[in-house]
Assembly symmetry: C2
Homo-oligomer: 105 residues x 2
């Protein structure tokens, strides 16, 4: 599946418990069918010069752009976005059709 | 495969031909065995407020952190990094063990 990706790179405000936020995010993706897969990670290796203060990446994959658009306006996503916006210090979001240039063996 | 990801979010300098750069990147990942998969995309949907000027995301997946570390010091990666550094206006890099919270069906 190449599909369409919603990539969020974030730095959270001081004191934010990311585990609690992740529970909400996992609940969201489990309840919304158009989210085909959800992966996330916390940076452990990048140089501060390259990381620019960001700590977490979240990647959701959809079948196509239409499914992603449906997700954006889904009430559960709208609700979660409000929670998420309140705890981030900075963010970068990219939404793109995926080009799979080297496929897993 | 959950694995370990190397995520690069970039904005290129004006006039850079991203297609040429991608050819170099595809050659690199095809020649270096530890790169298990390589996906990329150009943002088409995000709001400028969220995109922050960034236009492209590149995601390489490795079996584990050790393979990623081997990639970093691989002569072909070192060589390509020099080329890449010369054409970017800004960059965010995150390197993280992947948590697969919702797996593709």
């Amino acid at each position: 599946m190449a599909g369409f990706k919603h990539l969020v790179v974030a730095k959270f405000k001081e004191g934010v418990v990311v585990e609690d936020l992740l529970k909400g995010m996992e609940k969201l993706v489990s309840e919304v069918d158009v989210v085909k897969s959800f992966e996330w990670g916390e940076d452990i290796e990048s140089l501060e010069m390259l990381r620019q203060g960001f700590t977490h990446a979240f990647v959701m994959t959809f079948k196509n752009k239409e499914d992603f658009t449906a997700f954006l306006s889904h009430p559960k996503h709208v609700e979660f976005s409000t929670t998420f916006s309140a705890v981030i210090e900075k963010i970068v979001v990219l939404d793109f059709p995926v080009v799979l240039a080297k496929a897993p063996a």
